[in-house]
């Protein structure tokens, strides 16, 4: 009797729910850090699972992480030879775009980007495939990019901007970023979308039958359709840059004046469906930042942690694209957050049970109430013939970092370990797990944010910080950053409060 994928994914997602209200770290740090080989050795369950997947989903599942890391890389960093090659092969027409990214390739890239935070596969082959797919997409030629700007802003870039750099500085997954100076003298980053890509991807996503086959989920059709609908909706949203601009405005306005968090402002009059213009940010990229001193890394990790959970509990929004390329580091804990293309908004009804789960497990110590909320959120079938102890045993790992108030260190392969835990198909809990559609994206916390914090090997008393943010605690400032944040909170208008 083989476990099917739907359930496995559901199980992985259940884990996320826990993470939402809590920081996660395996108590047995040794087990996580232990053998580097562990990553590959864990496989029996994972391998079984991957065997059963189809190329496409394996591809997206396993290649995603690598792709995400590479996506925003500067072309120039790839070496002069490659730079020249890419220029030689630049996309010159909308037709070139369709040839390169049509017939599912754009969809695969997008799915891969998403799946990189929903799943954490291990096959180097598939990882390579996705990364190669990304590499196979050259930038637009200067003329083609200018044509998009002209169509969107009504003027060629040389007129819309005081200065326009025709050479892109970075690749975005379905576009590229140019530097420019606005007519009123601000330095900006202009993201320009490949022409025709939105139509191509939307058309390919319309083939639900194929997507079903690709994902090959044998779960009840209702679940599959919900999952597919969620994926499609998120992807289609990302194709409209206006959406991204709206989200970025929301985050920028909320964090305005924050001591360590910066969100670049959107330039409204230069932002449309296929062009989005925001303040240009400078800073240290993640790769380089990991070489910085540990105290700097701890502070940056604290900022990222605060950003994620303040967004979630106060903005009721989660930036689902927490890959390393979306951060710029400035020292002293200051971090700039980029790319709001994939933001999920939650209703209070969706967030309440997640919050209650953290509350009952970590603060009130009421296992039955914890379980009730797990069921209420739809993560666990209400009729599951399991003892609450079994459920807790299965879930507790996700709350380990916030169950006790003491300093803990995030470690390298931590997030994979959490996900892996839930690929443990032998667990009886897995059978009764489900994926409520609204929570799909939250798995990105596991593989995105915690992956990052693990790479920073960041230490903090995460429980104390969580208490500052948890709406059901609203504890006192626990760190110097918490104190300066308290000042910022006092100065800013109150957010909509929670009722308990």
């Amino acid at each position: 009797m083989k476990p099917h994928r739907g359930k496995i994914v559901a199980a992985a997602l259940i884990g996320v729910a826990g993470v939402v209200g809590a920081v996660v770290l395996r108590r047995q740090i040794g087990r996580l850090t232990a053998p580097a080989a562990g990553r590959h050795a864990v496989a029996p369950a994972a391998r079984l699972r991957l065997r059963r997947g189809l190329a496409a989903i394996q591809l997206v599942a396993r290649g995603g992480a690598r792709y995400a890391t590479n996506a925003p890389r500067l072309f120039a960093l790839a070496g002069e030879h490659r730079q020249r090659l890419r220029n030689d092969l630049a996309l010159q027409t909308a037709e070139d775009v369709t040839t390169t990214l049509g017939t599912m390739k754009g969809v695969l890239m997008k799915l891969g980007q998403m799946a990189s935070y929903v799943d954490d596969g291990l096959s180097p082959a598939v990882r390579r495939t996705l990364s190669r797919l990304q590499d196979s997409v050259p930038p637009m030629s200067p003329d083609l990019a200018a044509q998009v700007v002209r169509e969107e802003l009504g003027r060629p870039p040389e007129e819309a901007f005081a200065r326009w750099d025709p050479e892109p500085i970075a690749a975005a997954s379905i576009g590229q970023v140019h530097r420019a100076i606005t007519l009123d003298g601000r330095a900006v980053a202009v993201k320009v979308q490949y022409p025709g890509i939105a139509e191509t991807i939307t058309a390919d996503l319309g083939n639900v039958a194929l997507l079903r086959r690709m994902l090959r989920i044998t779960a009840p059709s209702q679940d599959v359709d919900a999952l597919l609908a969620e994926l499609r909706e998120r992807i289609v949203e990302e194709l409209d840059y206006r959406r991204e601009a709206d989200n970025q405005r929301l985050f920028a306005s909320y964090f305005d004046g924050h001591p360590t968090i910066t969100v670049p402002k959107i330039i409204d009059e230069l932002s449309t469906r296929r062009v989005v213009t925001s303040e240009l940010s400078d800073g240290t990229r993640f790769g380089e930042f990991t070489e910085w001193a540990q105290d700097e890394r701890d502070l940056a990790a604290e900022t990222i942690f605060r950003f994620v959970f303040r967004s979630l509990y106060e903005l009721r929004a989660f930036n689902g694209d927490p890959h390393p390329g979306n951060y710029l580091f400035h020292g002293a804990g200051k971090v700039t957050f980029l790319d709001f293309g994939l933001v999920k908004h939650f209703t209070d009804t969706e967030l309440q049970p997640l919050m209650q789960m953290a509350r009952y497990l970590c603060v009130d110590h009421d296992p039955e109430a914890f379980r009730k909320n797990l069921e209420k959120a739809g993560f666990l079938r209400p009729d599951a013939p399991l003892s609450t102890d079994e459920v807790i045993e299965h879930m507790a790992v996700f709350y380990d970092t916030v169950r006790e108030s003491r300093p803990m260190t995030m470690t390298g392969d931590y997030s994979s370990a959490v996900v892996r835990r839930f690929f443990d198909v032998r667990s009886p809990v897995t059978t009764y797990a489900q994926i409520p559609r609204s929570y799909v994206i939250l798995q990105r916390i596991n593989l995105g944010m915690f992956g990052l914090l693990g790479e920073l090997t960041a230490t903090a008393n995460w429980r104390a910080i969580a208490e500052e943010i948890w709406p059901f605690v609203l504890g006192p400032a626990s760190t110097p950053m918490g104190e300066s944040e308290a000042g910022w909170l006092a100065r800013r208008p109150a957010v909509r409060s929670w009722e308990f």
Binding site: A55, D88, M104, T129, S136, N207
Partner: protein, 302 residues
């Protein structure tokens, strides 16, 4: 005699055909080979429908009893089916993209091997020799016609002019294996009438049935590739001429626009998987760069 247990598996199909492709695309060629970056042949070779064209072409070729008997009695395809396909793949890639010297070298090798391939077809009782221009021409024509038809149905369709150009360009490929030029069709019309003229000789022998059954459902494929292969198989069979489908006894619904799009999407996924194999992206970029330069004769860079 029962071949079932002699079959090798098709595991590694993607890896080995990718390696074959990479090996056939030169890194720093001394010349443009027999076709060159401005040719229709190069354009055709970059189409994602290539695997369908390849499979359809084998299915048509196999209907010639003597061509099939030669393969059946002399090739080790049962023991190493993937290796056999990879060898063909290397050959086709080298002739298409390789330098002239390389193309001549591999063709010479094929001609030498053909010298030893002789025998009698058990079903028709007719003797055959692989070096017989008539058989070589059939194999050639089936390939060219399959590329055109599959391109029209599932790939990038060519204009009538480009179709004729493609047939004409490919004449040299037939010459390389030893078909006298004057026998080789050099336009779509000639190609069609040649194929029609051979039809009375065609039949689905036991060997053809057996080998094609293997190809359509090869054992040992990775599960995900097997899933994709279902569409490749469907497309290849759907693209066969009616008479060929009847000989095999296959029956598939004709490709509706929706089905066609789905096949293309699956081929896109297969292409992405292929792209993940070592060297494939680089080899394609070598080809694409040369094609770019050829299509824009005024050099874009000094």
């Amino acid at each position: 005699m029962t071949a079932a247990e002699q079959y090798g598996t098709a595991a590694g199909l993607i890896e080995r055909s990718a390696a074959a492709f990479v090996a056939g695309v030169p890194e720093d060629p001394a010349d443009d080979g027999f076709f060159g970056p401005a040719s229709v042949t190069w354009k055709m070779s970059s189409d994602i429908a290539g695997p369908v064209a390849g499979l359809r072409s084998l299915m048509v070729q196999a209907l010639h009893p003597l061509a099939m008997a030669g393969v059946d009695q002399h090739s080790d395809w049962r023991r190493d089916p993937v290796g056999r396909l990879a060898a063909t793949s290397t050959y086709v890639t080298t002739v298409s993209f390789g330098e002239r010297a390389a193309a001549e070298r591999v063709s010479e090798r094929v001609r030498r091997i053909h010298e030893h391939v002789r025998g009698t077809d058990p079903e028709t009782g007719r003797p055959y020799a692989a070096s017989d221009p008539a058989l070589l021409l059939w194999v050639h024509a089936a390939l060219v016609e399959s590329s055109l038809t599959v391109g029209r149905l599932f790939g990038m369709p060519l204009s009538p002019q480009d179709s004729d150009r493609y047939v004409a360009e490919m004449v040299v490929a037939a010459e390389l294996v030893g078909v006298p030029t004057e026998l080789v069709p050099s336009s779509v019309a000639e190609l069609d009438s040649y194929i029609a003229s051979v039809r009375p000789e065609l039949r689905c022998t036991l060997a053809a049935r057996e080998s094609m059954a293997y190809l359509l459902d090869p054992p040992g494929l990775d599960e995900d590739i097997a899933e994709i292969w279902q569409d490749v198989r469907y497309a290849a069979v759907a693209a066969l001429p009616e008479w060929a489908r009847e000989m095999y006894g296959y029956d598939v619904p004709p490709p509706t626009p929706t089905r066609r799009e789905e096949v293309r999407q699956v081929l896109g996924i297969l292409d992405a998987v292929y792209l993940g194999e070592p060297g494939v992206l680089e080899a394609r970029q070598r080809i694409a760069t040369r094609m770019r330069t050829a299509s824009a004769p005024t050099a874009r860079r000094a």
